[in-house]
């Protein structure tokens, strides 16, 4: 395997890890405020329990987004420039929503009142929804490409230049699937990581979202095996096989991301205007010297990142109780 191919595989790996890992914490962010019920105190407690399941891991999950974009920048500067510049305003929206989301998560427990926590939960749900939809839309856009000119830039004027792709059919399907996948994963994760009423309601939520995902898959005419995957997932959730359900949900998301990134190989970003302006793995790669340097750095750093992240999941492996303890 030559170095550009190796680094392309690494970029896709980072994106898979981002969508799989952060997908479930987007889902938990959207579901927590909905699934926490009961009287005021109980609801407050259950929402806190839901947020606690992702509390220690969400920012670690988000590191894979930084890694994916950082690795693309280092190994494929032309791809990085064309994609992020061509989707300038959608990416700004992603950053703003991520900023609000991180603050909502971290400041939630620092206001001291139930009202403040409700405000943070609403901000968390809204920003999780926005980011899941925007990244789903970006994957949808990747399946068709951008209007790249010969210089690797999207031409045009005004905000429509970079916002218009968000309104295309594939982007809308991608946004819907991004949100639905996060909801399913989030419900599966809550089922895996909580006890009591929250755990039971998470199962119901997963079973409610899966048919909607099935309809979107049918309408968008995605490959039939995807439907089979959703069916298997529904059976696993109904049979209370929580570990397996989460693994299958994550597997489906990962497979989808790989499919999008490898669909047009060796092209990594298609130009909808001019086939010769499309970016390929070899064409977008950095110089061989640069790739050799980052290969050494990657070999040193990546195993450490994976190891400490695995460790943090191991430390916080116990379930979070959604019942209140009355001492």
């Amino acid at each position: 395997m030559d170095l550009p191919t190796l680094w392309f595989a690494l970029v896709v790996t980072c994106w898979v890890l981002f969508f799989v890992l952060e997908g479930f914490d987007f889902g938990v962010g959207m579901l927590g405020p909905v699934l926490g019920r009961g009287d005021r105190e109980q609801r407050d407690h259950e929402r806190g329990a839901a947020v606690s399941t992702v509390g220690p891991v969400w920012d670690g999950n988000e590191v894979w987004l930084v890694a994916a974009i950082g690795v693309t920048f280092a190994a494929f500067p032309d791809w990085y420039a064309a994609l992020l510049s061509g989707l300038y305003l959608p990416m700004v929206l992603v950053l703003l929503a991520l900023a609000a989301r991180g603050v909502a998560l971290e400041f939630r427990g620092k206001g001291g009142t139930e009202r403040w926590r409700r405000v943070c939960d609403a901000a968390l749900a809204a920003s999780s929804l926005a980011v899941a939809a925007l990244w789903g839309a970006t994957l949808g856009i990747l399946t068709v490409g951008l209007a790249l000119g010969s210089g690797g830039e999207v031409a045009g004027s005004g905000p429509a230049r970079t916002l218009a792709p968000l309104g295309s059919g594939p982007a809308l399907v991608g946004a819907a699937l991004g949100v639905l996948a996060a909801l399913v994963q989030g419900a599966a994760f809550l089922g895996l990581r909580t006890t009591g009423p929250l755990r039971a309601r998470a199962r119901v939520a997963a079973l409610a979202v899966l048919p909607v995902a099935g309809v979107v898959v049918l309408v968008a005419r995605l490959p039939v095996p995807v439907l089979g995957g959703l069916l298997v997932l529904a059976v696993l959730v109904a049979a209370r096989r929580e570990v397996l359900a989460f693994v299958v949900a994550s597997g489906l998301v990962g497979a989808g991301v790989v499919a999008v990134f490898t669909a047009h190989l060796p092209v990594v970003l298609r130009s909808t205007l001019d086939a010769t302006a499309s970016l390929t793995v070899a064409g977008a790669a950095a110089s061989p010297d640069a790739l050799r340097v980052i290969t050494v750095a990657g070999v040193v750093v990546l195993p450490g990142v994976v190891a400490y992240q695995a460790f943090s999941y191991w430390v916080f492996r116990r379930r979070v109780a959604s019942e209140r303890v009355t001492a």
Binding site: P56, S85, L89, V92, L105, G109, V315, F316
Partner: protein, 131 residues
Amino acid sequence: MLAAVVGVWVLWRTRRGRDLDAAHRVDRLLLRGLWTVPLLPAAGATFGWLFTETARQPWLVFGLFRTADGVSPGLTPSELAASLAGFALVYGALALVWVRLVLRIGRADLAPAPAADPVDDADDRTPVPSY
């Protein structure tokens, strides 16, 4: 650095239950100015970034790559204005929230030391986060 010096000084002066002494010259200065200490790291971090970025101009990579050459060619003025407004708005709102929370925490009384947990078997010591 300054905060560390102040910290060591206060620790020394309050050793064995002593209190800062308003008659002592350094202590009096500290009692009046101590509230600025939490602001110093925030100011340090902010000015550190400002000085790093502005001192490097007009270069993006010193001596190699000019900032003017690093601008995305496709970017339009309206996009820049929109993103700048967005960042100013969201970060401005977040800054207000931050100031309010810092003031709230600053005004709150110190929490009493937690009582020792009577049950201390290994199973109970798995950390559980609270949010």
